[in-house]
């Protein structure tokens, strides 16, 4: 079974294109563009890995993060960040971030990180 990846980003073109590229690479990837859709998607169809942009207009990325963790703490979250901002990184680590990746994304690096996250989730879940 292919790894389920949920992409949460308000940049539709970015998120949808990235999802398409991941599908090409045999991932079960899906893109949502709002925090609400993200929460609905997580609750209805819990993914293995979430690629999350913390900065979305009118939404708190951290709320999405805590909802994800409340549905299933083993869902791994990789942060999609526009900048190498230490603040976000440092604040994210204690709340259960797996890793982060900086936009524009190097697809090879992203794939590596998704695989690591997936492996962790599978090994962590009995």
């Amino acid at each position: 079974m292919s790894t389920k990846v949920l992409i949460v980003d308000d940049e539709i073109e970015f998120a949808s294109t990235l999802a398409e590229r991941l599908v090409i690479r045999d991932y079960d990837a899906k893109a949502v563009y709002t925090a609400e859709d993200a929460i609905t998607a997580v609750q209805s169809e819990p993914p293995d890995v979430v690629l999350l942009d913390l900065r979305m207009p009118g939404a708190n990325g951290f709320e999405v993060l805590s909802t994800i963790k409340s549905v299933d703490p083993s869902i791994e979250v990789i942060l999609l960040t526009g900048q190498l901002k230490s603040e976000s990184v440092v604040e994210g680590i204690p709340t259960g971030l797996f890793d982060y990746i900086v936009k524009p994304v190097d697809i090879a690096e992203l794939v590596k990180k998704i695989n690591s996250a997936s492996e962790k989730r599978n090994s962590g879940t009995p």
């Binding site: 073109e13 970015f14 090409i24 526009g82 900048q83 190498l84 603040e87 936009k103 524009p104």
Partner: protein, 568 residues
């Protein structure tokens, strides 16, 4: 000599001169006064002489005893008065004149006495002549009596005219009948005596008049000499006064000029130097002369000038420092603004860049899945070129976004060693990938730091990232913390990388200066780092040697100078 003594002495000199002048003038006045008394006495003498002469006239006219007595009384007073001013007279007209005057008076007195005696004897003689005439007239008769009566007529003529011719007529009348008569001879003898008496009287009168005139002349002479003396003395004292006053005035002018020059000259120079000082020229100083008040004023002035100069120099130094600080502040503020602006731009660019990247990626994915067609390789190459350019843009935007600072400072208390560990953890994967060895020499029990943690993280992230970029694969980086003193913690980041050329060292904190190859560095990292650390009250130094490595030493204040919420 002190000025107050100079003033005192010059004033005393004036007073002394004035006293001397007054003394001489007083002396002259006293002399004049004495002389005036003498003049009065001489006038008295003249008056007495006039009185004497008045009574002399009376006496000569009436031959009365009263006038004679008056003359004698006045003569006594005259002699007394003359004796009273003997000294003055002797001084004025000499001993000879004095003796002459005395002798003249004595002579006059003598003549007057003689005249009086002469008059007394004449009365007796006249009576005797009269008695004898009467006796003879009674005893003679006839022709004898006639002859005798003629003789008596001649006698009466003598008594009347008292002249020589009448007397000779009387003598020559000697008729024979009267010759040999002893009584007539006696009578004739008495008449001869009487005539002699007349002659003596005339002689004495002449002598009296001449001596009286002589007395008058001497007195007038004396009076004239006295007046002349007073005149001379007056002129002399006038000259003395004039000379004294002139001396005082000239001396006064000279002394005042000298004193005022002594005072005014230094004051004028003081004024000149003060004006120069006001214009900022401290090149001149007062020349200190002597030991008076002016000299001490000059010395005090010089000291003041020196202190003013010192103050001016330290002020200029302070202003210089202040402008330096201000320039730094302006620089920091500029950097902060630039950072904020750049961050905004970078953030806006980053999202479309991500879309370009994904679209190009998808294009590549689709191409790779497609069958070969003409120009497929060219398309793939072009997509790779797009990737390369996106990567370059990404590096730039990441750099700007990563190191641009927040505009708000948020102060919290934290452990600097913990923060260094977190940052090390952040780079762990990259260093592992490049086989870089990291040494953390963190001193235990460092004081907790109260500062903006986020901004400090940016500082160290940037320096360590630079170190990672500088070292070759398999190189090493050492991070050391130590407390410099109780207020400052030193963090040293040492690498054994390629180092920074000496010429570049002085520019490394300048914005847009980079030693990295084209497209790899923005030249903003270290300038932002510098701005942050300065802003937090710390400092940053760099030591480097080409091909041996670089050490950044960051001084972190235990208590940041900034308060929460301050805009930087």
């Amino acid at each position: 000599m002190k000025i107050r003594y100079k003033l005192f002495f010059s004033f005393s000199l004036y007073i002394l001169l004035a006293v001397i002048l007054a003394f001489f003038s007083y002396n002259e006045l006293r002399t004049i006064n004495t002389r005036l008394t003498s003049v009065e006495l001489v006038d008295d003498i003249s008056n007495i002489i006039l009185e004497v002469r008045r009574y002399e006239k009376n006496f000569l006219l009436f031959r009365n005893e009263e006038s004679f007595k008056e003359i004698r009384a006045y003569l006594t007073t005259l002699k007394k008065n003359i004796d009273g001013i003997k000294i003055e007279i002797v001084k004025e007209i000499g001993t000879n004149e004095y003796t002459l005057m005395k002798n003249t008076i004595t002579e006059y007195e003598h003549h007057i006495n003689n005249l009086a005696n002469n008059l007394r004897s004449r009365e007796k003689l006249t009576t005797e002549v009269e008695e004898m005439g009467i006796l003879l007239e009674q005893n003679l008769h006839g022709k004898d009596l006639d002859s005798f009566l003629t003789l008596r007529k001649h006698e009466k003529n003598i008594m009347l005219s008292k002249d020589q011719t009448t007397y000779e007529t009387f003598q020559s009348f000697n008729p024979l009948n009267l010759q040999g008569n002893s009584r007539i001879e006696t009578y004739r003898g008495l008449v001869s005596k009487l005539f002699e008496n007349y002659k003596t009287e005339k002689d004495l009168t002449d002598k009296i008049r001449s001596t009286a005139r002589e007395m008058e002349t001497i007195t007038k002479n004396l009076s004239k000499k006295e007046r002349e003396y007073i005149d001379v003395t007056l002129k002399k004292s006038g000259k003395l006064l004039l000379f004294g006053l002139l001396t005082i005035i000239i001396l006064g002018i000279v002394i005042n000029m000298k004193l005022s020059r002594n005072i005014a000259h230094p004051i004028k120079r003081l004024e000149g130097i003060t004006k120069k000082i006001a214009k900022g020229d401290f090149s001149e100083m007062m020349e200190v002369k002597g030991t008076d008040e002016i000299a001490s004023l000059e010395m005090s002035f010089n000291q003041m000038e020196k202190q003013l100069l010192d103050t001016k120099i330290s002020l200029e130094h302070a202003i210089e420092k202040l402008s330096e600080k201000q320039a730094q502040l302006v620089e920091t503020a500029k950097l902060a603004t630039l950072g904020t602006f750049a961050a905004g731009v970078a953030h806006e660019i980053n999202n479309p860049l991500a879309i370009i990247n994904e679209k190009a990626g998808l294009m590549k994915d689709i191409l790779e899945m497609s069958e070969d067609f003409k120009h497929k390789d060219r398309f793939l190459n072009m997509i790779d070129a797009i990737f390369k350019s996106v990567k370059r843009c990404r590096t730039i935007t990441h750099r700007i976004l990563g190191f641009s600072r927040k505009t708000e400072v948020s102060i919290e208390t934290f452990d600097l060693n913990d923060m260094m560990r977190e940052i090390a953890g952040f780079f762990e994967k990259e260093m592992l990938y490049k086989s870089i060895h990291l040494d953390l020499n963190l001193k235990e029990n460092l004081p907790k730091v109260k500062s903006d943690k986020g901004q400090l993280q940016q500082v160290f992230l940037n320096i360590i990232k630079n170190a990672i970029d500088a070292v070759h694969d398999g190189g090493s980086i050492a991070v050391t913390t130590d407390n410099k003193d109780e207020n400052m913690i030193n963090v040293a980041i040492r690498d054994n990388g390629h180092g920074i050329p000496e010429k570049a060292l002085q520019y490394i904190f300048e914005p847009f200066f980079t030693t990295k190859e084209k497209g790899k560095g923005t030249g903003l990292g270290l300038s932002i780092t510098y701005g942050i650390i300065k802003n937090l009250g710390g400092d940053i130094h760099v030591e480097s040697e080409v091909n041996k490595g670089t050490t950044f030493i960051v001084e972190v204040p235990v208590n940041s100078e900034l308060t929460k919420g301050e805009i930087v």
